[in-house]
Amino acid sequence: MDNQSGTDRYSNPAAASILPTSSTSPGTSSSRRRLGPAEWPTIDGPLGLSHDDSLEHARRFFKLGFLCLPFLWAVNCFYFWPVLRHPNAHDSHPDLRRYLVGSAIGFLLFAAILSSWALTFAIGGEHLFGDVWKELVMYNVAEKYGLTGWI
């Protein structure tokens, strides 16, 4: 025991200033003790949401993402990264994981579609589109409608 404390003392004290990696305190429930880094569902660790609020939060973001807001899905995945990373260790609602996986899939799908369109547009250019390209490209649209005259 002494040796253990000795090594701990020399461990890097600045290691876990964001995620309490070693804070599996004896006070928490036993089911969480083997979680380690996944003790907190959010990436903010103890500053983030509790397990109960997380489900509500994840569900809300998942639903809102359908309003053509894939960025919300990305933020959702980012926020609950520990849950995505350690799927087995989590004891909180399996629904949470489902929403997150849904968000991740949705974001990847949307990003794939959007980027393929954007790349086609950018690389294909006028050869592919013809005159329509000039209509669609942003700087022409801005000039046509005088969008930059506000500042």
Partner: protein
């Protein structure tokens, strides 16, 4: 059994806290400098805004006026601006007194939407035009829409990822600061000095609006609705139940200082992150008592006593960018404070004015940028130290702005000549 790691020294904890506040300030300043050099570089002489804004309502500077005229005009402009800010801050105090927090919150979200959507969109457009980026309107519309909506949510909701919230606050500060750099030169400089003086008055004088606001918030133990940047608190794992203790602290709200072995959670709501420059710089201390212990604590919003709200309050920052727009107030938030978990909070107004100073310096030369950057960071450090010493609300703007302006003048008038002459004669540099 876990043993505590080597207890962190004051230097480490304090240093980390300071770094966590200096980094976003630096990032904001850097981005404004980059934006300014890209967008304003070619048209450095055309510093006149085509539209009358609140800051140029009294006098429109043109390059043909004499110095004295420009100075007078700039003084008039700044007086008008400061007067408007004062009125608006008093209005905010009144609304807060009448407990219209919902209205304030919505207004804040609305102004964040305006800043991110319109200002952000415009600047993105200018960049696209500058670089002739071949992006189509559908993609840019989707991206802008996403960016804006998530930004408004980040400002509105307290339970968003801390990193996302902080990033959006820095972006809002950057956009507003860029807008300020479009003002004419003399007006900008005099305005900066005027705001610094106003900050001093509003926070320290007994009748100052910011001071009233802070006292109100403290007496009610509420959050001030304002846009504040809150740095991530330094979590010490020195206790075996480090994480749990922190959560319990928040759950019980402030006021349980005795329970937490030296944790610096005091009940006082921190600074006003409000409309005007009030900086309460409070330094969070770790679990080991240090003398800086009672930093003012931030606020734990009434409802969510369980969780810290990393974003403490939201204040509307709205820039009046066209005369047709509804005369929106310029509620600029300046202030450093302490979050409920002991982290440093810095008002967005401070970000904005620091970046305006550096952006203006960038419009002259990069040498002034370096000098002003160092001056501002030094001023910020001094303010932090003063705060730790006095432990009450202190304005963050005056020291940094005065140092910054001084260094700008010295560099422009004296240093530049020296350096250029030395380089030309191959003596140094």
């Amino acid at each position: 059994m876990e043993q505590n790691p080597r207890p962190r020294t004051v230097l480490e904890t304090l240093g980390e806290e300071i770094i966590r506040i200096v980094t976003p300030v630096s990032i904001c300043m850097l981005s404004v400098v980059i934006l300014v050099s890209i967008l304003n570089g070619d048209s450095s002489s055309a510093g006149d805004l085509p539209i009358t804004t609140m800051a140029t309502i009294a006098y429109k500077e043109s390059s043909s006026d004499s110095t004295w005229d420009k100075l007078k005009g700039a003084l008039l402009n700044s007086l008008v601006f400061v007067a408007v800010v004062t009125v608006v801050t008093f209005l905010l105090v009144l609304l807060f007194y009448l407990r219209c927090t919902k209205f304030l919150k919505y207004y804040m979200g609305f102004s964040a939407f305006l800043v991110l959507g319109f200002m952000g969109g415009e600047i993105a457009l200018l960049l696209i035009q500058d670089f002739s980026f071949p992006v189509d309107c559908i993609t840019s519309a989707i991206l802008l829409f996403n960016f804006t909506v998530v930004g408004v949510l980040a400002v509105f909701m307290s339970k968003m990822a801390i990193f996302v919230t902080q990033a959006y606050l820095v972006v809002i500060g950057m956009l507003v600061a860029y807008w300020f750099t479009l003002l004419p030169e003399w007006t900008t400089w005099v305005l900066l000095v005027a705001m610094a003086l106003y900050d001093l008055a509003a926070v320290l004088l007994p009748g100052g609006p910011l001071r009233l606001l802070v006292e109100l918030a403290m007496s009610r133990d509420e959050d001030i609705p304002a846009l504040v940047y809150e740095a991530r608190p330094v979590i010490n794992d020195s206790g075996p139940s480090g994480g749990v203790v922190r959560r319990r602290v928040w759950r019980e709200g402030r006021g349980d200082t005795d329970e937490n072995q030296g944790l610096s959670t005091n009940t006082r709501s921190g600074l006003s992150s409000d409309s005007t420059p009030g900086t309460h710089l409070s330094v969070g201390i770790g679990e080991h008592e240090m003398n800086l212990a009672d930093a003012e604590e931030g606020r734990v919003t009434g409802g969510d006593s369980e969780l810290t709200t990393p974003l403490v309050q939201h204040i509307n920052v709205q820039m009046n960018s066209s005369e047709n727009a509804v005369p929106s107030e310029n509620l600029v938030l300046e202030g450093i404070g302490l979050g409920s978990s002991g982290a440093i909070k810095l008002g967005l107004g401070d970000f904005i004015f620091y970046s305006v100073l550096v952006g203006r310096a960038a419009m002259y030369d990069f040498m002034t940028v370096y000098a002003c950057y160092l001056a501002i960071i030094a001023g910020l450090g001094v303010t932090l130290m003063l705060l730790a010493f006095y432990r009450k609300a202190l304005p963050a703007l005056p020291v940094s702005i005065m140092l910054g302006v001084l260094f700008y003048l010295l560099t422009r008038l004296l240093l530049e000549d020296f350096v250029v002459q030395c380089s030309m004669n191959l003596l140094m540099f």
